[in-house]
């Protein structure tokens, strides 16, 4: 049985993140900023689309129950410079995905990084930076 690992940990030094305030589409208030969840999962779907790409993941818990997660990234043009593409994932891929989860406890989050079956790591943004002040920096 696949061992399920859902590890929650504080922001670790060196982890690459996208600041929530940099989102081009929606608010970061929905996310538990700074919290991290690592999912060992099986890809069910990779939806390469506006306004955010969505990665469907099945995560099997220690009790054997499967929980379906949906994790988002930025829109395709924002991801291409970091090496992401429509072909980054295929259904059935075994991946390890680090996300920032939503606050309300639902199995949703935004992807910070993903380790692919071949060991390659995709990061979802620039190196960790402090959140800019309201209105400053990269805003929509």
């Amino acid at each position: 049985m696949r061992k399920t690992c859902v590890t929650v940990f504080a922001a670790a030094a060196g982890l690459l993140i996208v600041s929530g305030s940099l989102l081009a589409h929606h608010a970061n208030a929905v996310f538990d900023v700074g919290k991290r969840v690592t999912l060992k999962a099986t890809v069910t779907e990779w939806f390469w689309a506006n306004p955010h790409c969505l990665l469907g993941l099945d995560v099997k818990g220690d009790d054997g129950k499967v929980v379906h997660w949906v994790a988002e990234t930025q829109a395709p043009p924002n991801m291409i410079p970091f090496g992401w593409s429509k072909q980054s994932f295929a259904a059935g891929d075994a991946v390890t995905v680090t996300i920032e989860p939503v606050k309300n406890g639902q199995p949703l989050g935004r992807i910070l990084q993903a380790v692919l079956p071949d060991g390659k790591t995709l990061v979802a943004g620039a190196p960790a930076i402090p959140a800019p002040e309201a209105g400053a920096g990269t805003r929509q």
Partner: protein, 249 residues
Amino acid sequence: MIRHLVALSTAAVLTAAACSKPPAAPAAPAHPNLSGSWVRPLGDRDVGGLPPVNEIPLTPWAAAKFKAERPAAGDNQNFADTTDPSLKYADPNGYPRISLHPMRFKLVQTDDYVYQLWEYNNNWRQIALNVPQDPDPALTWYGNPVGKWEGDTLVVDSVGYKDSTWLDARGLPHTTDLHLVERIHKVGENLAFDITFEDKGAFTKPWTAQLIFKPSPDGSMTENIYTISDELRFRERFLNQKATIPIRR
């Protein structure tokens, strides 16, 4: 016969005149070439932006309107029930909001026009060079920009903006009196847009902002057209929000 002689003589004179001068060397470009692909990269902090709202001299009308909006970002964010016209109706962003995305744009510079082609929503604007501003332009999403060169700086004057757009994702309002003056110039390898905002209905005095764009090595841009179905599909799939109208696949 006489006609032929005159024609031959004229040809000889023209030939001599043409041959008497050496061919002119190509003129040096009068202005910097701003053409290329530019981007405010996702995550970069040294790319400027609009100032905090409390530093913008809002009129009472603008302050009240700003407070009443429900943007998807910023201090008053309410993504689920937003009033953001670009999310609620998929309206074009307007300017300068569209340039604040971490997506590319291209500048295409000709003698008569500079075209700004945004990857976001595949929108574009045309900056007519060396023509007077229209005193009563039609109101449009991206205004009526006219430009002229002042040395190495392209100065763009624009009016004629619809008042239904926001200046940024926080919900910063403006009226149809919005008047922008942009000074576009190179800073090293980067491109700076120094923007002055004037709008007697929304601001008690002019204010400024600077946007910095970096060269984008990849000149190819994607089709990135954002529709209301995209928005509804995202909300349905990610937030489990039911769409109020059918989603086109």
